[in-house]
């Protein structure tokens, strides 16, 4: 693939290459400038944020701001980060296991109603999670689970899109022959899945994990509806709550800024460390 690509590259006229580069450059800037702005703003003290050039540094107060964020309200911000990591990390992990199992089963087993089940799950992909939040709230109220860890965690472990992806991955990554061989060797179905199927599907499952991680991390509406206790907030919701109080407490502005900057770091780390799998996973369908 790479060979033919580079070949095509050379044959392309210089002009269209330059145009492509230009467009890419503009978009890269478009995406990076806000992050740059955020970084610069979080190094400034309260007054400088508004009075100095927005895209360049004034007095470097990054560590003072960080210290203030750590102290503000007993460091509740870091509790929020931890919560986000739990909701998104643990939630995505469990969601991936479930989605992987479901996708594997839908792909490898013949059973009555298989297509119906799959179509229902596919329908689930189309229902926006915001539409589900209110019914979920009413249900969780009935069982007195609102304003608990579970109120955000449990809905996060269902990932219809993950099931859909897993089914595709299972179909192409797990050959039926391997499964038959392992059955002949006397391995049970569960063991076959966790020792063989799971491993073969791994690059795809990492993709599912990443998708779900980002979805949960950015899911704002569910915590907004479910949570009332500050110590349970995920970081996105906590920062939003601060941001709505700027009128009354303008000092919060600098906490929101540096808080937002720190909150994107886990996502960046996650993407950089998993991108190898991610690329394989996303590309898997295309190559075959």
């Amino acid at each position: 693939m790479s060979k033919s690509a580079s070949l095509a590259y050379k044959q392309e006229p210089l002009l269209s290459r330059a145009a492509a580069m230009l467009i890419m450059g503009v978009f890269t800037l478009y995406f990076l400038v806000p992050i740059w702005w955020l970084f610069v703003a979080s190094t400034k003290d309260k007054g400088d944020i508004l009075t100095t050039a927005p895209l360049w540094f004034a007095d470097f107060n990054f560590f003072e701001n960080l210290g203030a964020l750590t102290e503000y309200r007993g460091g509740v911000y870091f509790q929020w980060l931890l919560n986000s990591a739990l909701y998104a990390g643990l939630g995505a992990l469990v969601a991936t296991v479930f989605a992987g199992m479901a996708g594997y089963a839908l792909s490898k087993y013949q059973f009555r109603g298989r297509d119906t089940v799959f179509n229902v799950i596919l329908g689930g992909v189309l229902v926006p999670s915001t539409a589900l939040a209110l019914p979920l709230f009413l249900m969780f109220s009935q069982v007195e689970l609102t304003n608990t860890f579970w109120a955000v965690f449990l809905p996060s472990i269902a990932s219809p899109f993950g099931v859909y992806l897993s089914r595709i991955f299972a179909a192409q990554a797990v050959p039926d022959e391997v499964l038959e061989a392992s059955r002949l060797d006397g391995s049970g179905e569960l063991r076959t899945f966790f020792t063989i199927g799971w491993r073969l599907m791994l690059p795809g499952l990492v993709t599912v994990f990443l998708f779900q991680f980002v979805t949960i991390w950015n899911n704002f509406f569910l915590p907004l509806i479910m949570l009332r206790s500050e110590e349970l907030f995920p970081v996105t919701f906590g920062l939003y709550a601060w941001n709505t109080q700027l009128n009354q407490i303008p000092e919060l502005r600098s906490y929101v800024l540096i808080g937002a900057l720190i909150s994107i770091i886990p996502l960046i780390v996650m993407f950089l460390s998993l991108q190898r799998f991610w690329r394989n996973g996303v590309g898997a369908g295309a190559i075959k």
Binding site: S141, Q142, L224, I225, R228, A241, N243, T244
Partner: protein, 441 residues
């Protein structure tokens, strides 16, 4: 659908109870009168508020009252999501005992049967005299006897102005709106704008209408009357329209960086705003420290003493609480005791709604940012000049959105403020009908 049914019942009832001013002991929810007696055992109350630092204030109460423990729940500010949550919780039968509700949102909760009439508690009725009269009017909705909350804070308005710039340019501090317009021309000639007219946030405009003696909502019999374009509103709208047309005011969206920057860079010289605006200026325009001062808001007639109000909230008790007695005891402590008011003021800059609260030591001191002037004295005077007759409607969120759409157009020259108010009236009436709220046309 369910809301609609509730709304019909509630409005009919509320209207007869509150709006005709007929005394009654029944709660707003139409059930038998809620009993206001102590539980006789230790209780835990849930209280939702988005005030920063509220946990610390509640902590003072919890330490002193082991039998009535209050658990704080929090979230974004009311219109940022918490009101929506209150309604969800009410629908689920899972509302907290107490919640913070701004004055302009109270009627919405009352109409939807969300609040308990706390006037069944003796202490509540007795506390009335401690509050600035108009704030009590805000929680009783139209001067009736049912009480839907304990006033918490208020936002009396006055004129913040750049003392240094007015003096250097020989411009007198305007005491009437006519003088203000003359001053605006002088400021414009000196290269600045006298103020910023906020088009995105129409609460400031509502404060101006309030000062001018207007009222957007009223009710006779069992129906509401909506008129965002009453005589006072027309006067105020035409005044600001002419200021916009003659390029005498800036129209930056409020609370944005460019807005802050306009004040910080001395482009904008004054702001008629609420007491909490003191903090907005000092944090948004740090370079201008020491140059600001506060004077009473300009008047419509020479020598009048009328003030507007912008903001303020109450502590309300939700329908379904089992501990009305304890809830009101806490709400009264939170909003009348000196220790709570002092803490609320220092942690969240809340300006008390009680007469005594306005005399807190912290509110008597000179403020450095304002050249050492004890600015809160001006607001204390203003607070007593606010008309008690201004009533909010039950669909304010939607009304604000509709009107600010039109205000945005006025700022760009493709409409007028008056158009926006007239369209806002029509849309608000439509919204009432959609919710089966009786309305006079």
């Amino acid at each position: 659908m369910q809301q609609r049914k509730v709304a019909v019942g509630a409005v009919a009832l509320v209207s007869t109870l509150v709006l005709t001013g007929c005394a009654s002991d029944t709660g707003s929810n139409g059930e038998a009168a809620v009993d206001c007696s102590p539980a006789g055992e230790a209780v835990t109350l849930e209280f939702t508020s988005w005030i920063p630092g509220i946990e610390e204030v509640v902590g003072i109460w919890n330490d002193a009252n082991p039998d009535i423990q209050v658990k704080v729940q929090t979230g974004p500010n009311g219109n940022g999501g918490t009101y929506k949550n209150f309604f969800n919780q009410l629908a689920a039968g899972d509302a907290p005992d107490l919640g913070q509700i701004e004055y302009d949102a109270l009627p919405n909760f009352v109409v939807q049967d969300g609040l308990t009439d706390i006037s069944v508690c003796e202490d509540v009725v007795k506390a009335e005299s401690e509050f600035v009269p108009w704030t009590w009017g805000q929680v009783t909705l139209g001067g009736g006897e049912a009480v839907y909350g304990v006033p918490q804070d208020s936002g009396p308005m006055a004129l913040f102005y750049r003392a240094d710039l007015f003096e250097a340019n020989g411009i007198a501090i305007p005491t009437t709106w006519d003088e203000y317009k003359e001053a605006a021309k002088a400021v414009r000639a000196a290269g600045g704008y006298i103020t910023n007219f906020s088009t995105a946030d129409i609460n400031q405009f509502a404060g101006f209408v309030w000062q001018a003696g207007g009222s957007w909502f009223s009710s006779e019999g069992d129906a509401w009357t909506v008129d965002l374009a009453d005589d006072a509103s027309v006067k105020v709208a035409e005044y600001w329209q002419s200021m916009i047309d003659e390029d005498l005011v800036a129209t930056y969206p409020a609370w944005t960086d460019e807005w802050n920057n306009a004040y910080n860079s001395s482009t904008v010289w004054s702001w008629t705003s609420a007491v909490w605006g003191a903090n907005s200026i000092s944090s948004g325009a740090p370079d201008t420290a020491g140059n600001w001062a506060v004077a009473p808001a300009p008047q419509w007639t020479e020598g009048a003493e009328e003030a507007g109000n912008w903001g303020g909230s109450s502590t309300a008790v939700f329908t379904g609480t089992d501990h009305l007695y304890e809830a009101t005891k806490f709400a009264l402590w939170l909003n009348t005791s000196e220790e709570a008011l002092t803490a609320l003021n220092s942690l969240a800059n809340l300006y008390p709604a009680t007469l005594e609260g306005m005399q807190l030591p912290a509110l008597k001191e000179g403020v450095e940012f304002y050249g050492g002037q004890p600015i809160y004295d001006v607001f204390a005077t203003a607070a007593e000049q606010v008309s008690p007759d201004f009533v909010w409607g039950p669909t304010m969120t939607q009304t604000y959105a509709d009107v600010s759409d039109g205000f945005g157009k006025a700022a760009t020259g493709s409409g007028t403020l008056l158009d926006a108010l007239e369209k806002g009236t029509a849309k608000t009436i439509a919204a009432f009908k959609a919710q089966s709220i009786p309305v006079n046309e």
